[in-house]
Amino acid sequence: MSELISREEALAGLPAQQVRALLFAIEQLSLQEEARRQDEMSATAAAWAAAEGERDFIEAFRRARIIRDTPTLRNLEDHAERWASLVPDNPRVRAGLARALASKYPFNPGLAPRLCQALGLDQPATLESFRAQFGAELSTIYAPAAVAAPVVPHVSIARLVLAFVKLGSISIGGRSAMYLQDELVDRLHWLQREDWLEGLLLGRLLPGPAGVGTAMFMAHMLRGSAAAALSVGAYILPGILGAIVLSMLFFDVQRPPWANGAIHGVSAGGFGLFVFSAMKTAPTSRKTRYGVAAAFATFIAYGLLRVDLVLVLIGAGALSLAANTPRRRRKEADR
C-alpha cells in the first residue's frame, strides 16, 4: 500500500493518512455490502430450497459463496452509492483518493461511472486540485479502454440460453443480427455497442450465416465457448421449428395474394429496423480517431462503388489503423 502515495507527496502535504484510511474503508464497505447481498441471495435460496426440501442445494450454495479479502473493481462500482457518503468534500482528498484507487483498480469513466460519480471526478475543483498536487491532468490516471478489465456482467448460462431462445423466436423480418443489438445492448445492457459491431464484422468475415457468427461472438463474450455453442443452438431452434411448420402449411398450396403482401410488408418493416439499427451505431464512430471519415469512406466504397468486402476492410481498415496505432492511442489517452 505504501507505494500508492510516495514520501514526496506525503511531505508535500497530501493528507496521505486520510486517503489511505478512506481507501481501506471503501474497500471494506464494498466487501461488506457484497457479503450482505450474497447473504440475502443465500437466504432467498435457502427459503426456496427449504420449501422444496432440498438441503443439498443449500449446502451447494453455501460453498459457492465467495467473499474475498480485497474487492474487485466491480464490487467497488456496484456499491459506489453506499460508500459515496464516506468521501469528504475536500477536493484534495478526492484527487488523492482517485489516484490511489486508480493505481490499485485500473478504471475509467466508461468502466466505472458510478465510482467516478461518487468521487466527483467530473467536478472542476477536483480536476484543479489534481493538477495542483500531481502536475498532470486527472484523466492520465484512467486506464485505456482496451487494457482495463472489461465489466461484463455475470449472466447465468440458463439466462443466456433463455435470452437466445427469445431472440430466436422474435427476430422476424430477416434482420436477426439487428435484434441482437436491441436486446443484448439496449435492453439488457449486457454488452456494449462496440461489442455488437465487432460481432457483426466477425459474422461477416467468418464462413456461414452472419447472424449466427454475431450471436456466437456475443454469447462467447458473456460466458465462453460452451455457452456460445449452447446459445447458438437455442438461437436457431425456434426458427427451424417455425420454418418446418410454415413449409407444411404453405408448400404446394396456392399462395393467397395477401401472403405476398405480408412478405413485402415484413421485408419493408425489417428494412426499417435495419435503418434504425444503423442510426443507433452512428455516434459510436466518433469514439475512434477519424472514425467518421472511415465510416463515410466505407459507405461510399462498399455501398455506392460496390467494392469487394475484403478489399474494403483491408483498405479502410488500414487507413483507420494508421490513425489509431497503439502508440497514437496511448498519446490520445494521455492528452
Partner: protein
C-alpha cells in the same frame, strides 16, 4: 436418417463452408444444385425463400424449407444443421482465439480501427438492401413508419415488424 436427408446434409454443409459474407451470397448456387437434383422447381425455390423471410432467427433458415421439400422433416433438420454446424464450429474456434488476443495492444487497436468501418458497412448494407426492398411508394412508407416507430416509441420490435406484415397483407396485394 434417410439417404436423401444425408444428401441434403452434405450439400448444405458444402454450401455453408463455401459461403463467406452472410450465406445469401450463394443463393444462385443453391438454387442450381437443388433444382438440378429435382428436389423442387424454381418457383418452389422462391416459395422456400419467402418462407425463410417469414421465419424468426437467422435469415439463412430458408434452407429449412428446401430440405423439407427434398426429404421431409429429417431433410429440413439436415439442411439447417448441415448449413450451420460445420461453419459454426470453425467460427467458434476463430472467436475463441480472437477473444484471447483482442485485448493486447495491436489487436485492440485493429478492433477499434475497424469499428467505424463496421458502421460504414452497416449503412452501406442498408443502402443496398433498401434498393432491393423498397420496390414502390407503399413499401417505402412501411419502412419509414416502422423505423420512426422504433425510434420514437417503445413498441417492441417484433410487434412493429408483425404490424408491417399485416399492413402489407392488407394494402400490398
Amino acid at each position: 436418417m434417410s439417404a436423401a436427408a444425408v444428401e441434403v446434409f452434405l450439400l448444405f454443409a458444402k454450401l455453408g463452408l463455401m459461403s463467406v459474407g452472410g450465406g445469401t451470397a450463394l443463393l444462385g448456387e443453391m438454387e442450381r444444385e437443388s433444382v438440378a437434383r429435382g428436389w423442387l422447381t424454381h418457383a418452389q425455390f422462391l416459395q422456400a425463400y419467402a418462407i425463410g423471410n417469414l421465419t424468426p432467427g437467422p435469415g439463412t433458415l430458408f434452407v429449412v424449407p428446401i430440405g423439407y421439400k427434398a426429404a421431409g422433416v429429417p431433410g429440413a433438420v439436415a439442411a439447417a444443421v448441415g448449413f450451420i454446424l460445420p461453419t459454426a464450429a470453425i467460427g467458434l474456434a476463430v472467436i475463441s482465439l480472437w477473444s484471447r488476443l483482442r485485448r493486447s495492444p495491436w489487436p485492440a487497436a485493429i478492433r477499434d480501427a475497424l469499428i467505424p468501418v463496421a458502421i460504414g458497412l452497416t449503412f452501406a448494407s442498408a443502402y443496398v438492401i433498401g434498393r432491393a426492398t423498397l420496390i414502390d411508394v407503399p413499401t417505402a412508407l412501411i419502412a419509414l413508419i416502422s423505423a420512426a416507430a422504433l425510434w420514437r416509441t417503445r413498441i417492441p420490435t417484433p410487434v412493429v415488424i408483425l404490424a408491417s406484415g399485416v399492413v402489407g397483407a392488407v394494402f400490398l396485394r
